[in-house]
Amino acid sequence: MNQLFNAGRAWLLFRKYFGENKKAYALLFLACGASLTLLMGVNLSFTNAYLFEETAQVMYYFAGMIGWGCLSGSLLFSDLGSKSKAINYLLLPASSLEKLVCTVLFGIVIYFIGYTLIFYAVDFTMVSLANEKFKTAWPVINVFTINLYKSKFFEDGQTSYFFYIHFGLQAFFLVGSIYFPKYAFFKTAIALVLIWVFAILYLVIYMKNVVTPGLYHDGVLEAFDPSGRNKIVRLPGGLEGTVEFFFKYAVAVWFWVVAYYRLKEKEV
């Protein structure tokens, strides 16, 4: 018998997880729908028709998805914070990998699909009402061609970056739910802020004194002396691709791997 992953065992685990958590997920999706309805309903009461243009809809979509995603992510392993539930969970005859895959499948993949469907239902209704009220013709956004709606938050306007932010943050909160037995959401949020502050301080205070003074083009790939005329270093272009790949795809996976090892070493 494969001790790492067995499809039959994983199926039993998915069945059990769904059977025991379907009410919680139904409530989560209801809450997502209610919050989107409230937000867009309030906007509908204003006289500004542009609150329903495509880029505004995109913001509602990501705000809800990231907000609820972080909150639900911080609850995914909350059972480990309760001794009785942790015993039940850890002694269930399935491997740590199967348990993690099950959690990722429901908490991240199914959440993403469910939230998107609910968003479409609410967005379609609200945009229709807005078009009726304001005599406009705003279309309902298509999340599969999200980059058509340019974002002001990013230099190149690639709105799809919000997906990477969402999956990375949700994975971070998932890890937080294992590390912090109590108040995981708040503690993870605080940890996130601290990491952010530390990164800023590191770049602004430490790196500024370490790297060569001068001008930088292409991020940090090309460095020039203070006159801006003489190039003093050119880092390989592949480095940019590697860094970009890491932040786009590997961050979430890296946090899932951390969660896996943390789950394996969890004691009660």
């Binding site: 018998m1 059990k16 059977g19 309760s82 015993i87 002694l91 399935a94 491997s95």
Partner: protein, 277 residues
């Protein structure tokens, strides 16, 4: 089945086990006795893989418990002192959980549940703590795993149910199974266990079969004050004394687990010396 060699364990600076070694065999029901905080639950958690020893070797059915491999987990079941059951019906609970245990017997489960007087169609949400515990015990027994660990199973059960529990556990035992029951309520284990394991002060103070104990110790109620002189332990009653003495005459007596436990705690060295003889 369970082999423990030089096992050390500590919660931060609080040392619980200091190099304990023991072997537990299938076909026995072991009763683990000890004061609160001596490590009864900790030992069960280490055996099940919920806690990892700081030093030493533990092998359970050929597995290292801390790895929590599915093949190991499907052949053990633990009824913890603090337990959790989801808010679903009994039928859903066994449908969703029973298949994880290859030897789970549905009919047996419902027999146990009926034996405890619980309506089969009730939902776990509507049950009292004691009723939920009965469902969990029934489920644990019906898994027919090779190693069943029960941590204070009598807690929360009424007197009649405790008797029922003893009957069910005794009925579920066979030569392939090893059942470990920890309890601070010694009476819960009477007429159930066949080996006793007393833990005290980071060590195993006594591990012996009741048969051996009966051969080496004599338990009686004495009205003769001279019996108290050579007694290992005595306790005054309304009339007379309960006395534990070395069984030099080879006489048969019924072991009183509570008195045995008190005798072991009163003079551990003397008790160990008698058992080593």
């Amino acid at each position: 089945m369970i082999s423990i060699e030089n096992l050390h364990f500590a919660y931060s600076k609080n040392r619980v086990f200091n190099g304990i070694s023991t072997h537990l065999q299938p076909g026995h029901i072991y009763g683990i006795l000890g004061k609160n905080g001596t490590g009864k639950s900790t030992l069960l958690h280490i055996i099940s893989g919920l806690l990892f020893p700081t030093e030493g070797i533990i092998n359970v059915m050929g597995f290292t418990p801390g790895k929590r491999q599915p093949s190991f987990l499907r052949d053990i079941f633990m009824v913890p002192e603090e337990f959790h059951l989801p808010n679903i019906s009994i039928a859903d609970y066994i449908d969703l959980n029973g298949l994880f245990y290859p030897k789970f017997n549905r009919q047996q489960f419902f027999d146990y549940v009926r034996g405890f007087g619980i309506p089969e169609h009730s939902t776990l949400q509507a049950m009292s703590y004691g009723q939920k515990k009965k469902v969990l015990i029934s489920f644990g027994l019906a898994t027919n795993v090779s190693l069943l660990l029960m941590d204070e199973p009598g807690n929360g059960l009424d007197i009649v149910s405790k008797g029922q529990l003893r009957k069910m556990v005794a009925g579920a035992a066979d030569e392939h199974k090893c059942i470990l029951i920890s309890s601070h309520q010694v009476k819960d284990l009477e007429n159930l266990i066949d080996e006793v394991l007393i833990i005290d002060d980071t060590r195993i103070l006594l591990k012996q079969s009741l048969e051996t104990i009966a051969a080496k110790l004599s338990f009686k109620i004495s009205f003769d004050p001279t019996d108290l002189v050579g007694a290992l332990y005595s306790e005054p009653l309304l009339r007379g004394n309960t006395v534990v003495t070395p069984n030099t005459e080879g006489e048969e007596s019924n072991i009183d687990l509570e008195i045995l436990y008190k005798a072991a705690m009163a003079d551990p060295e003397k008790m160990q010396a008698i058992m080593m003889d």
